[in-house]
């Protein structure tokens, strides 16, 4: 059911992207052939690539092809858009999942630690570090990390994706770390305050009165109740990570979707931008769906 709802959403996304790209000034063909090419050459190619047809005709053609699963051809590279996406998407997906895997343990550890010792020195330090992590600009931090861990210490690669799975983990460590530094504080703040709220609820007292252990109350009642709001925020952040991959992918020269998207927008490579946007939208829809399913598992009152 939810997946069916995705169809009109994707349709809307495609119309908006198409309209935005068409409305953006700048000629893809001029960028393609370079400044030396004559206006005649540019005109001939525009015609050949079907860019001279009226907008609605172009869109109709695009959407008909899309219905058959054909995302079109890149104007720049003359290769299928699906090939470009297949090449770049796994990289970004790996990076996002890696970031999540690195993020979750410290989020739980730090929020529980800090909530259990509210206003203690550990809590203060964690909160202070959190503000710092949020305040530091990602691109600057990423640059510093690359210079320090990559050049000075030589511990981690500062670029690329690597060819094997262990190499992927190694190459994407600094990008994932740079992203994690601002994601962790956001989630810690939410989870910590949710934990504090729940810890002061009446059911905790009831539980104590029933003779339940403190650990049991925390694990069985407080934690599940606190996770829900964080989980929803987490879904938003994952969607944001996909889009925000642009920054870390640029600084660490990671050949992922962010890079593909930016370069394609700069080159006015319409069909690649379209295709990439649809894939981003689809992923976001799936993440939201997954989060709803997980929420339902944690709290049966939520229906996916």
């Amino acid at each position: 059911m939810r997946l069916l709802q995705a169809v009109p959403v994707l349709f809307g996304v495609s119309i908006i992207t198409f309209a935005l790209m068409v409305a953006t000034p700048g000629d893809p063909i001029r960028l393609l052939v370079g400044d030396h090419a004559s206006p005649e050459t540019v005109a001939a190619l525009r015609d050949q690539y079907g860019l001279d047809a009226p907008i609605h005709v172009q869109y109709l053609k695009y959407i008909t092809n899309l219905a058959t699963g054909d995302l079109g051809k890149s104007l720049r590279y003359r290769v299928p858009v699906s090939q470009l996406i297949a090449q770049h998407y796994p990289v970004t997906l790996f990076l996002v999942l890696y970031t999540i895997v690195l993020t979750l343990p410290p989020v739980f550890a730090l929020s529980v630690w800090s909530a259990k010792r509210q206003n203690g020195p550990a809590d203060q330090i964690i909160r202070l570090l959190g503000v710092l992590g949020l305040a530091v600009p990602v691109f600057w931090l990423a640059l510093l990390l690359a210079r320090f861990f990559g050049v000075t210490l030589g511990w981690f690669p500062v670029s690329g994706f690597g060819a094997t799975i262990p190499a992927h983990f190694l190459h994407l460590f600094l990008p994932a770390l740079s992203t994690m530094i601002w994601v962790v504080p956001i989630l810690v703040r939410t989870l910590r305050s949710a934990l504090l709220d729940e810890m002061n609820r009446d059911y905790v007292l009831t539980g104590m009165a029933k003779g339940l252990g403190e650990r049991q109350i925390f694990r069985k009642h407080i934690l599940p109740n606190s996770i829900l709001p964080t989980l929803n925020l987490f879904a938003v952040i994952v969607a944001y990570l996909l889009g925000g991959s642009v920054i870390v992918e640029t600084v660490y020269a990671v050949p992922g979707m962010g890079k593909l998207m930016v370069e394609s927008i700069l080159a006015r490579d319409y069909f690649v931008v379209q295709g990439a946007t649809l894939v981003f939208a689809m992923t976001t829809i799936l993440v939201m769906l997954a989060v709803d399913v997980v929420s339902a598992l944690i709290d049966p009152r939520v229906t996916p």
Binding site: R30, L170, A253
Partner: protein
Amino acid sequence: MHMNGIVAATMAVLLCGTPLAAQDTLRIASGSKVTSLDPIATAAAGNIEAYGQLYTHLVRKDHDGTFKPGLAQSWDISPDGLTYTFELRPSKFSDGSDITADDVAFSLLRVAKDKSSAYPAGFAPIKEVTAVDADTVKMMLDYPSAPMLSNLEIFNAGIVSKADVEKRGEEAFTVNPVASGPYMVKEWKPNDRLTLAANPNYWREGLPKIKTVDLIEVSDDNARATMLMAGEIDVDRHVPWPQIDEVNNSPNVSVKLEPSTVLYLVLPNLAKPPFDNPIVRKAAAMALDRAAITNAVTLGHATVANSTLPNALNYYDKNVSPPAYDPAGARKLLEDAGLLGTEINMMIVPSYAQTATLLKAQWDAVGFKTNVEQVDVGLFWSNLTSGEFEATTTWYYNETEDPDLAVRWALCGTCGSKSFYTNYDNPEVDKLTEEALREQDPTKRGALYSKIQQITVDDLPQIPLYYAPYSNGYSDHVKGLSLTPALQWTLEDAELTGG
């Protein structure tokens, strides 16, 4: 702590990761993109750098700049300069098929006449190219062209396989192109990297020495510099001026400043106010302390430009000069003409912000009112080529050391590019351009180009700023590699030594 556990685990992965094997791959990172492998499809920088590796030429320039036979082992030029006859050496494409006179004729006609040829200017005189027999090619011109032979070395005159292009069309250049140059495509990942493998059939036997080359696309200057210093690439195509010292102070890497035909300049649009007025152009030129701008932007690494032609070109005239820096004189010019307070709207791409700030400060100091508008590259080229701008600052380079193409591109009003889209059109310059192309005597040609330079530093269809060398970063174990002024890597003669 969980954090430490993860770091430790990652470190473990690092330690058991494959150690660096003896290196046989050269890795070049560049901000310029390879978007097409078809030599006639585009004249954008990243592509130019790749074309030379994939497609060989009839003639080639050695690393000392002298002309050597290429695919043509000898040639004969008729006394009227209208017929060129080339004798080809026996050679093969990367797929093992013979390179024949048919392929050469096909390739040259393609760049000269095909409607999708992005930069045919150097081949405009060509009337017909025919295969006389399997290894003889005859090229006939409509009119003589002094630089014709050297133009055959330009990036887009590379030899492609006729049979393959006719059979596969567009796909011949996206999937396993058939190469004639020192390298062939091993793998192309658009928007990421082009991996080249040595072409076993390359006609220069025993070359290239480096078996694999990665051309990696990294748009961020900082990322490339970090990669070079961390040893993840061997060559950084363009280290920004402020980072040269940092790279040079790092172990095992250094920046080489190599001669280029690059000229940075200010382009006014002569079809629009205020720069349609010669007084405004003169005042704008006199207002600029070009030496100070050059020093501030390039930290002394570039040479102040004195001519409208790049200083690496033949017949460059070191004795011409645009109006000298004279802010008081500039203000007086504006005052006398009642032009004080004239507005200048300058369009730039973000990487020119520093130059634009300096230009604005110096123009405003003599009584202009400058507005700077930043646009992205896509809009920049659309606006420039359609004449939707008042002034801008940018650069260009020339494909050969012969000035003909530079003049046609940047100073001639009837040669197709409207003098670098400034709409400058001086009939005398146009006439001299054609005359100089046909003139075979070097001394007389030199005089004609001097005259063009003299006229244009007075007319000011552009304000030349500085001649910038290439600033490429190299790892110390790369030997014999440089970037020629024609934007070609000398990869076939390069070596990797040590570790």
